[in-house]
Amino acid sequence: MSAPARTRRSPARPPRSADALNRPALRIGPASWPWRPRAALVCLAVTVLLAAAFLRALVAFDSADVGLAEVTAVLLGGGDPGQRFIVWELRMPRALTGALVGAALGLSGAILQSVARNPLASPDTLGIGWGAAIGAVAVIVLGGSAGGVSGAAAQFGVPAGAIAGGLAAALAVFGLSWRSGVHSNRLLLVGIAVSLTCANLVYWLMTWTDLDSAARAQTWVTGSLHAADWDRAGAAAVTLAVLIPAALAAGRALGALGLGDDAARGLGVRVDAARLVLLAVSALLVCVATSAAGPINFVALAAPQIAMRLCRAAQPPPAASMLLGGALTLVADQLAAGLFAPTQLPVGVFTAVLGAPYLMYLIVLRHREARL
């Protein structure tokens, strides 16, 4: 990755050196951000989309006679107990898990792609998601044979297993691709090998157990939101409530890192520490997302790239990628559930069918630029 500033094929941009100098800044205490109207507008629009998708998710997945008006009433505190139960206990966990998981994946993908400076880097191609799946399935399978996973084991054991597995996979990928520095292409090759190995270890683990645990493990492997409940949504929400602000705060270093290590040092960024923190946070985000819903493919790959093009930014913007990831996951879940009704396809299947061609398109595009 020694190449200097990249030439992206973006729409023609006016020369804006003067424009950039006059740009007002947003200052809160010691922190400041450049004020980018377009990025703010995109974030607003995506937030509206996310809210709409979330509201739609609250009426989408079952046939109970609780429509949009009733849902709105329940959300505002009204409704009868039956309606409150349906909305809060049945529908809310799935919608919330979808939004949170998608947001975590989008944010994590934005950070990984910026740090690796490669649009093809994502938790899918780096094997972190499958590493997390190993951890989660190991807890289900080994805990299952000791008397069924429930309560504390399901609420804390599965996320803990996923985090341990995902971090181990991330460490393995980075360690194995280290040869006097991490070359981002070698990183991707090793990542693909690690994810293949991890996927097969998951299949192996699933043969260790009885049918019941295997069926439960299967939901992790396909990446679905069917089985979302408050146990999972709650655990994910609590961890993400810590991780997302941490990631957004650490993400402030991304702009400087994008200028190259030397320039970033000159701007006062502790390069190695910042990169380590960013990688750790993005790996943790993927682990939490995977423990809640299994490996949902390609959201982390596509959301940052789309957000980057929408914002016309040089790097995947973290906040917009996060919001877009949530919106995309919710929309994909509803499409996957509705397209072949009454059979509800897992959301992971649907994101893969849409995302894989997008990855192919990116490969062709990168190749044309003679950068791969």
């Binding site: 191609t125 691709s177 991707l188 690690v194 897992p346 990855l359 192919m360 595009l365 791969l372």
Partner: protein
């Protein structure tokens, strides 16, 4: 000027090369005999070892004189067909790996890594779903067609613009293709119970539980593929020098390439139709073979066939032994062992700079 200057030292070198060829030939022949011995050992183990313990003497006796007893049934109806299938599929995958690596000039090509195997699997599931085919002799054709389509598509995507494909783009395109095709496959399976019955074997390759006579049904296709590969060995040696040089030497480059692609589709498609995608054989076997034979395809192809067969049988036996009851599918064993091999390859080669 330069030619006349270099000519004198070269002449004795060429003279010395003639006697040097004899030990190399001897070494290659010895290697071939050794490989045959290893394959025979693996085949013996594959017949003798299983979850149902049968004494070796008993196995030997029933092998020579089937008596219709339980041990005899297990050996003749389960273990022998399984061993045969392993040999055929392993040889096919090993040779398919050689062909893919040579034609793409890429040391990390493998039918399952580049999505070709999943093309075959997806085509089979789709033909079960759409056309209602249930017989292997019917859907082996769609498997071969799927393998062909997937390999052409992956190669086209990886080639992208004007430059040829690099290992990096090929592998990424293969990963994307694999993700797409397995997602389509699982969607079809979720929508249609009948396809699930067929598909259960396709997620991870397995030699066990296949219908009787499956080896006979795929044998013609695999034999055709092996013959094509053997016939193209000389041409692939020339292609290694570059397309222009091969043309100048009188080889028909397009014909060699077309027959290579056809052979890959036949070998990969037929073996996937029989066992499901078994990964990493096509990666490991050619590299192991090349370590002994060097780049000469006339030796590389038979070596890789034997290596692949031995590898699949060994992995199958390992999968039977590793747990007391039940067994681990051969595809899983090979993927878990092949992943580290692949990483070592990526670390060793100056691959990423290609």
């Amino acid at each position: 000027m330069t030619t006349s200057a270099t000519a004198p030292p070269r002449a004795p070198g060429a003279a010395a090369a003639a006697p040097a060829a004899a030990p190399r030939l001897r070494r290659r022949l010895a290697g071939l005999v050794l490989l045959l011995a290893v394959l025979a050992l693996c085949a013996v183990l594959s017949v003798a070892v299983g979850s149902r313990a049968i004494a070796p003497a008993e196995v030997w006796r029933t092998l020579l004189a089937p008596d219709g007893g339980e041990a005899s049934t297990i050996v003749h109806a389960l273990r022998l067909p399984r061993t045969l299938l392993g040999v055929v599929v392993g040889a096919a995958l090993g040779v398919a790996g050689v062909l893919m690596q040579s034609h793409t000039r890429n040391p990390i090509a493998d039918p399952s890594l580049l999505g070709v195997a999943y093309g075959a699997a997806c085509a089979v599931v789709l033909s079960v779903f759409l056309l209602g085919l249930t017989d292997l002799s019917a859907y082996v054709w769609s498997a071969i067609g799927g393998a062909l389509a997937a390999s052409v598509a992956v190669f086209a995507i990886a080639s992208g613009g004007s430059r040829g494909p690099t290992p990096m783009t090929l592998l990424l395109a293969g990963a994307a293709m694999t993700a797409l095709l397995s997602a389509i496959t699982s969607a079809v399976v979720l929508l249609d119970e009948r396809s699930l019955e067929v598909y259960r074997f396709w997620r991870v390759g397995s030699l066990s539980g296949r219908p009787a006579g499956v080896t006979d049904q795929i044998l013609p296709f695999i034999a055709a593929g092996l013959v094509l590969a053997a016939a193209g060995a000389r041409g692939m040696n020339a292609l290694a020098l570059g397309d222009d040089v091969a043309t100048a030497l009188g080889h028909r480059v397009r014909l060699i390439r077309a027959s290579g692609v056809a052979a890959i589709a036949l070998l990969a498609g037929a073996s996937v139709a029989a066992t499901g995608p078994i990964g990493f054989v096509g990666l490991v076997a050619p590299h192991a073979a090349r370590a002994v034979t060097g780049p000469d395809h006339r030796w590389l192809v038979p070596y890789a066939a034997l290596c692949g067969a031995a590898l699949v049988l060994a992995a199958d036996v390992a999968g039977r032994v590793v747990r007391g009851s039940g067994e681990v599918e051969v595809g899983i064993v090979l993927a878990v062992l092949g992943g580290p091999f692949f990483i070592a390859l990526v670390r060793r080669k100056r691959l990423v700079e290609l």
